[in-house]
Symmetry: C2
Subunit: 268 residues, 2 copies
């Protein structure tokens, strides 16, 4: 299994503090030594740092920890391989372009006997169940909305439906972003916190490091952090609801009720 870390904000924010605790789990305080990666959206562009070495030993991780990249949406992943060998092409997050936007995806879980039909529009480069699911998701989205990005509600419904179909094959915690919203899906373990004024002094579990967010933020800042296991030992983390996709936008979950959506391509 792996661990996921995501951030969604209303103003571009750096993830140095949370990433410091998270990357320690890539071989120091935990056993996720089989590679790591992090993606930052900056406008419509995305920066993706991937390394198949343990994050605790990676000079690239040290750079990410110390070089503040401000972003509205970040997805990071540390890997403990289940399917697919330890190699760069099997390192999360994965990236593809759909509708002229980059999409970033990372998965924690294990899908078994998962053999979706692919039409060639998105094909996995590596051997993971995760990249396979990501390709199938994008194929479904393009098929359903051939004219381009639909309104956020319709997009949310389609991703929720895909998640429901796919979690039948196993554990399927994932983070997904198009740079605008961050979609989070939990089947086993995924927590979140909203940090906003009055900002806390937070202390990492995995390193003896404290940050007073009130010193590095403005009163209107709002940041959602989503992570497999809570990162701090003096804040209240909330478990994400199971069995539905949560969309984070501007640093908070968006209220949404699934409505009956049109049948999927496969069910038609």
């Amino acid at each position: 299994m792996c661990q996921l870390l995501g951030m969604n904000c209303n103003v571009p924010t750096d993830i140095c503090f949370s990433f410091t605790g998270f990357q320690a789990r890539g071989g120091t305080t935990d056993t996720h030594r089989d590679g790591w990666g992090i993606a930052f959206f900056e406008g419509k562009g995305a920066r993706l740092f991937l390394d198949h070495n343990p994050s605790c030993e990676s000079p690239l991780a040290a750079l990410v920890r110390h070089y503040p990249i401000r972003s509205l949406n970040v997805i990071a992943h540390i890997r403990k391989a289940t399917q697919g060998r330890i190699s760069l092409e099997n390192t999360h997050p994965f990236s593809r372009e759909l509708w002229g936007r980059y999409w970033i995806f990372a998965h924690n879980g294990n899908l078994t006997n998962y053999e979706p039909t692919l039409d060639g529009s998105f094909l996995p480069v590596g051997q993971t169940d995760s990249e396979l699911a990501f390709c199938r998701l994008l194929q479904d989205l393009r098929q359903r909305f051939p004219a381009g990005m639909p309104p956020e509600e319709a997009l949310h419904a389609a991703i929720d439906e895909f998640a429901a179909q796919t979690r039948r094959f196993g554990s399927f915690n994932f983070l997904l972003s198009n740079g605008d919203s961050l979609f989070a899906h939990r089947t086993t373990e995924l927590h979140y916190i909203i940090r906003q004024a009055p900002f806390p002094v937070a202390h990492l579990m995995d390193e003896d490091m404290t940050v007073d967010f009130s010193e590095v933020t403005t009163p209107n800042d709002r940041v959602a952090v989503i992570v497999t296991k809570p990162l701090t030992d003096n804040e209240t983390w909330h478990p994400l609801p199971v069995g539905r996709v949560t969309r984070f936008h501007n640093g908070a979950p968006v209220a949404w009720q699934p409505v009956k959506s049109p049948p999927s391509a496969e069910a038609r």
Copy 2:
């Protein structure tokens, strides 16, 4: 205009020396201050480092210069913006997946009145003529070879034909790789060198830096370096032929004569 740097090798090789001279042109010895990027293939995986800050000031460029990433195929680019604002989404190289392989593309030049028809299978995220041409190239390739990657000769012919169609719109020096071969196309300026035993002592033009390649190689190593302007002042660089695509494989250009290829999708 911009500058391009590519490397194609028969054994995984680091590009620290060449990149040191190249990145100095991103604001120190030359004026290409509008962002830079570099992509390394490692197996089927690719690492892409992008920065819209000048490479001479970038902590990321410093990391790439000092952290030897060994790769068979590398493409780097420093930008002086012609079309598209200075932003991450307009920073080369660009990356897409086709046939379950990553493709990396960087362009030096300027295409005017270039408005190819896109069917939506690959769409630009930014506003550059370069990313537009890359999307159209991949669309053409997928249309022509829907069953997957064709033999290298057929692939070479199709890319050569695309280059011929596209250079009618302006200067179109580009580097393209799928991790196996590196394709280079010159309309105005592009040079290459093959380094192999007996290896030279090379001295950079842009920094006072010398490397004795015989100390860091084995006798069977062969490395092709392709660059807009020669990087060293004591080696003989060759201009690439104009008006045809050269394919580099295992550190050398592959002999190839264009044969009459089937008509393109557009001409049918």
